[in-house]
Amino acid sequence: MIRQLTKTSHVLIGFVLLLAFWQVTVLIGGFEESLFPPPLKVGKAIVSLIENGSLWTHLQVSLLRFGIGYSTAVVSAVALGLTFGLLPRLWVYIDPIVQVLRPVSPIAWSPFIVLWFGIGNAPAIVIIFLAAFFPVLLSTVSAVRKVEPIYLKVARNLEMRRFPLVAKIILPASFPYIANGLHIAIGTSWIFLVSGEMVGAQSGLGFLIVDARNYLRLDLVFAGIICIGLCGLLLDKAVGLLERWIERQWGR
């Protein structure tokens, strides 16, 4: 209880510091209000977004897209990662392809994403998928390879077959590293929400920012940034909790 309280107070003090810094920058820099809105104006923008309900709508849409993109990426990347991790002979051919595709920004792909997936929800989901897919895939493959040989020896000794081997040994043994990949992926793919919702989406937090930017409403842009930041933080914590919950089930 008391720990929780001090922690909250740290967070609050941190944000107060940030607000103070921000306000001071606005004052000292002498920036035009409409170009660099002060905290109070942004606060009002957030309140207005909440009051007219649009924040909630955008948030819902974004979370839905993110949920679909991220979860399909996780499922497919973990499944493929387990496969490739267990078939190193195959992986040597796939690895260079992945390594070259990974560092390309989803933005660069957007003409092709529109070609294949149209506009609206699909490209946003695909971009989030892409951003999450590669880190999870790579961390799963390397996690499978890092499984302690002693566990594999135990399994061989017990004459375990392929499927139980994966389900009972390899998946739980590599889970901590996979979870680490999931953690990294949630950060990077959330970052690409903004890019994803630039391609013809008509709602969502990313759309909110792009749209506000085109309206030259930088207070709304800031409001969107704050929402994205807070949501990203909460998502990260949520994945952390889930991770710890699974680990507790597995007695670590």
């Binding site: 957007s110 529109v114 149209g118 391609v199 013809g200 792009v210 749209d211 930017r213 085109n214 030259l216």
Partner: protein, 305 residues
Amino acid sequence: GQGVKQAEAPAGKDSKKPVIKIGYLPITHAAPLFIEEELGKSKFKQFELQLVKFGSWPDLMDALNTGNIQGASVLIELAMRAKEQGIDLKAVALGHKDGNVVVTANDIQQVADLKGKSFAIPHKFSTHNVLLYLMLKQSGMKLSDLNVVELPPAEMPAALAEKRIAGYVVAEPFGARSVAIQKGKVLFQSEQLWNDSVDCGLVLRGDFIRSNKDAVAEFVAEYVKAGAVAERKDAQAKQILSKYMSVEDKVLDLSLQWIKYDELKLDAGSYKELQTYMKEMGLIPNPPSFEDFVDNSFIDEAMKR
């Protein structure tokens, strides 16, 4: 809202009205579209209109080229380029006339002052680039005399306010913005550089036009009507515009002053002029011919009514 939708759904099912998806950017230049949708919503007989907002021209063009939208209100030069690249597009109307301004920092008195400074345009294939070219030509300068940068329009007022650029030319309301906050001034109106300049156009995909002639005819007719409403620039028009664009009234008023929405027909003369400039600037060596690219049959029909 909900009641309308429910009433509309069965009708849509019965008659299988084609959906026209039109892409746009939230700029004053697309005002006829906004008004057409707002006034005509659920009243169109031959089609359903769906406006799709984009954040930037490249994103919009991707959607248009791949057929994810049937048409767009887009920089006409950009559409010409797509046409040249083999995308089947037709310009059926203009978005507006005039209303592009060259905005510069307050200390710029004449074009020569821009020499060696940075100057922003939204896109290579834009009327704004042409206007810049013409402005420089009139003052005996070349594009290479200043540092031309492509910048997202939204970034321009900030860049000008912080003196990162000496000026810019772009669609509205981004020009009015700098003037409204007194960080910039109007150096030229577009008509001072190029009378009857051609800018944003209403472009549709050729395959869609061919298979939905009636729908397109009604769509363009309504579009022209909406242009007339926009041209009134009255309280109703402003209220609709601010719904689609949500800019401050001051900025909107200012930008509306500069724009005309009446003659929305792209005539051969203006197009030829544009073709010449494009060739001169080396942007499109072989611009599509007027006959290939412009389809004025619908707008002619509409104006007859």
